[in-house]
Symmetry: C2
């Protein structure tokens, strides 16, 4: 196949008309041409490399890799480096292999990393353990291009043997190691880096990014559904405010913000998590537009999702040069940045209207091993009229919580919610056959009746439920169990769910259907009084023990600062 087109060259940082030839999925010719009156350019639009999301958990999109590919190509994405950390926590190697197999069935460049931290902590029950021998098994696979984000930085710093073994294996197999080290600094950061961990996607301010960059990390700027760090990093005024001590920048980079030459600081734009309702609107195409609005050069922005990740993970795509994989996108205009067509390996996969491949289903076993619950399973008992309880206070879409307390009344020995003060009940129901339940209290959701439940609850994905009363909480949890996983909203008026039968995390349906159902559930939660924009996402973070201050697991209420369990009822 041979054609003429305007091409954006991310190596030379320019565009030009060119004759392009693709053979066997590879660019075999990219020759700049001149255009005279006789020559027409075949392609109506600008040809740019397909986008690469170098850090994403596909499970957060609640759809299979194949369905993810179908929606992603509409937005110009042609490759991802996916960390199957969520399914790894639920189904272990079996789940990861199901993801890889499903991914292989579609014409999309799926690369995976081996999840390094399963389970995330020992303070919760997960469905699987991925140990160093599993990691070696995974690293041997061609589809696995990296060791996934090393979230256990205390383990690295303190020399945990199993952690070090995993890192050693990645180095041995010559695969990059992704990092995850929010606010890690100075000597601790140095120890973390000694292990060859080379990326970080947790920087939320410029000084943090600067230190990590100077120490050799590649900075992934996150622009996803749950965390949007891009404004904090790219906004020059915000950056300047953050620099209390400009001398921290050192000689080489002093005044880079004042003189607006800070673009070399950043390496990749990643989404990390992209929820279905966001994913149907766009992906990295929107991130590029946002980056340019924030003052980043368009060429730099495009580099961050093309040639840079390609070079880091050795992907042989991400540039329209001879010898590279023919993954490209036609956009209408460099300003509007609408995706007209998407090509992978030289084949059209999105023609502007339709996606030209089918998504096979994942036929996963039921991962929910839990018996039906009754209302009393969710009761917090107290012998007295009133008690003081520890409360998780949460904020819309925020991973961080605040530890607070409340005085609650009892009724027949059962501690009651207090909708006037927005103190609701929260429980985590173990779903891996053990039967644990932890019941506690939460502030911030605003429900004045009913309950919401979900089997998406980071990182172990037990069933989490928040509600006004034990009865609807039991109904919501049972609905999730009946669905083999999913999200449910239950009240006198509602009994609706989004089934996520694949590991309790994903649906075989397409992104639009899943987003639509999620939208219905959002509206129902809202009708029940919930003030949060993202109640299910916020709820899912309430079980993420590694992020302070106070969280909940199936084993108990957890103080993330002291890193220990605490009592629900204060003595």
């Amino acid at each position: 196949m041979s054609f003429t087109a305007y091409v954006l060259d991310v190596v030379s940082n320019t565009f030009f008309p060119a004759r392009i030839t693709v053979e066997n999925g590879i660019f075999t010719e990219v020759t700049p041409i001149t255009v005279n009156e006789k020559l027409n350019i075949d392609v109506k639009g600008l040809v740019i490399p397909g986008f690469i999301d170098s850090h994403i958990h596909i499970e957060s999109s609640m759809i299979t890799p194949a369905q993810f590919a179908k929606i992603a190509v509409r937005h110009g994405t042609t490759a991802v480096v996916a960390d199957p950390h969520e399914i790894g926590n639920v189904l272990g190697i079996e789940g990861i292999e199901a993801m890889i197999e499903n991914a292989k069935a579609v014409p999309f460049n799926f690369y995976f990393s081996a999840p390094s931290c399963v389970p995330a902590t020992s303070f919760e029950t997960s469905g699987a353990v991925i140990d160093s021998s599993d990691i070696e098994y995974l690293l041997k696979k061609d589809e696995i291009v990296a060791l996934g984000e090393m979230m256990n930085f205390p383990g690295v710093i303190n020399g945990d043997e199993e952690v070090l073994k995993k890192l050693e294996l990645a180095r041995q197999y010559g695969k990059p190691i992704d990092g995850h080290a929010p606010l890690l600094t100075r000597e601790d950061l140095g120890k973390y880096l000694e292990q060859g961990i080379s990326t970080d996607h947790e920087c939320s301010n410029i000084i943090e990014a600067f230190e990590k960059k100077m120490k050799g990390m590649k900075i992934m700027v996150r622009d996803g559904s749950s965390a949007m760090d891009m404004e904090g990093l790219f906004n020059i005024n915000h950056a300047l405010e953050n620099i209390e001590n400009p001398e921290k920048l050192g000689v080489i980079f002093r005044d880079i913000f004042k003189k607006k030459v800070y673009s070399p600081l950043f390496d990749f734009i990643v989404s990390d998590d992209k929820h279905p309702d966001d994913l149907i609107k766009g992906h990295l195409n929107l991130s590029i537009k946002k980056a340019t609005r924030l003052g980043i050069d368009i060429l730099k922005a495009i580099s961050m999702v093309t040639i840079n990740p390609s070079r880091h993970y050795n992907l042989n795509c991400g540039a329209i040069v001879e010898g590279a994989k023919a993954d490209y996108v036609i956009i209408d205009s460099i300003c509007d940045f609408n995706i007209l067509e998407t090509y992978i390996g030289g084949e059209c996969v999105f023609d502007g209207e339709n996606v030209l491949f089918d998504a096979p289903e994942i036929d996963a076993r039921n991962s929910i091993n839990a018996t039906k619950k009754s209302a009393s399973d969710f009761d917090v008992l107290y012998d007295g009229d009133e008690c003081e309880v520890n409360v998780i206070e949460c904020f819309d879409g925020d991973l961080l919580t605040k530890k607070t307390t409340a005085k609650l009344r009892t009724k027949n020995g059962v501690v009651q919610s207090d909708s006037y003060n927005d103190i609701l009940k929260i429980s985590v129901v173990e779903r891996y056959g053990g039967g644990n339940i932890t019941n506690a209290f939460i502030k911030g959701f605003g429900l004045n009746k009913g309950a919401i439940a979900s089997s998406v609850a980071h990182d172990s994905h037990n069933i989490i439920v928040i509600g006004y009363d034990s009865e609807t909480m039991a109904q919501a949890v049972n609905k999730v169990i009946d669905d083999k996983g999913g999200i449910a909203v239950v009240s006198e008026d509602f009994n609706e769910s989004l089934p996520l039968p694949i590991a309790g995390l994903m649906s075989n349906e397409d992104a639009y259907d899943v987003a639509h159902k999620l939208d219905i559930l959002h509206k129902m939660a809202s009708a029940l009084g919930c003030k949060l924009k993202s109640p299910f996402m916020t709820m899912a973070f309430m079980a993420l023990l590694v992020i302070p201050s106070i969280k909940i697991s199936d084993m108990g209420l957890f103080d993330g600062e002291a890193f220990e369990f605490i009592d629900v009822i204060k003595n």
Copy 2:
């Protein structure tokens, strides 16, 4: 040699600490590293690729290639694509080979283009003709990487046989063809491009650059001594003013200025001409700083003088990647951009204080073949008291002139200057043995006594002289002849010169000495009443026939719009 350093990577558009190994002048290892507490970075500064000036006439610097290299490495320049068009006009192939030989004697990457347009016109006497067989002789040389700027665009458009033969030869030898086509547009531009001419450094406004870019030319943004187009092209407000009809931008690029995503429009930054007084202050290092002040991303600016020219001319330098020539520069800071050290092929050539190589001299034959002149040679005779004359009106540093007239008195049959109205005498003395002299009048120099003369007079470099009276004009010309070429200022009080014995264009002295002597001459011209900042440069353009409106050659006063000779004295 192996060391650790912070490296600016122009392929990935980022920087990182790396271990760098250089063997036999080539980067054999560029490995990103992480930096912990134990590791020191060897290099104090940031390692960036050496700069490449992809279009320069070294003769304009009035020094030899070797001396040019000595000053250029102080500014971080490690390579140039030089068009020896000036010496070609004077000495032909012999001169070009002297340049190449001198260039080879120093550790600097000199690449040359074969001058395509010698002589520039048939309306002047030049020292040489470079025909298509000479071009073939030159294109066979490894040092010649391109066919030099094709200024004869009428010849291309009208299908001049000899011109087409030169272009065909360049295509045959697989060497890029540089363009020079100010304001060429639409069908004429299309015909020009059919010949495979692929660069243009003459764009002075954004619409012109846009059309040429869309048609496949690579845009060289000029930031030199005589022409500074950078402000016109990079300044966003200026760009917006220039766009009267935004629809001209077409669909793909509409709103690129409004949305500030216009950086892909530009390919290279070049100097074209760099005079000694400017060259001692800086070179492309200053252009990069200026570009960032004008809003161009620092990475884009650096790309324009590193990887982009390297890819276009197949130079295997311009990036710090494995397999590339180890040409690099250490700068103190990405903002201040001071050059600390310069390396070529892995060898230090500038250590921050001294240049570590010597510049051999060019032992050129005397190129001035002209007999001494007497005052009467410069007389314009008229039989009457007063006559009306055609006058060249010039403007400081401008190639363009305006045709005007003046009434002048005679004395003993000789037409006199009129210093009150700033009408001076101008003459061009042929210096290739033929003995032609043309005498005419010029407005704009402001001399109220004395004369200035120079053998630098584009493109044929005959001796040009401007003065108040015939006597000092003869003395000034004779001084230039005695010096075997150069620039002279002569009056009652002054008799000073800058000898340029190499083709009447260059000195074997170093840039500082030449700049110093030029500075003295500037001050003398100023003392004689000259108001121009650059009198010698402006004077040198007065013989450049291809730029309108009215110029002078050894053959006569020339109307550049009608493209014919006109009389000095109006009938």
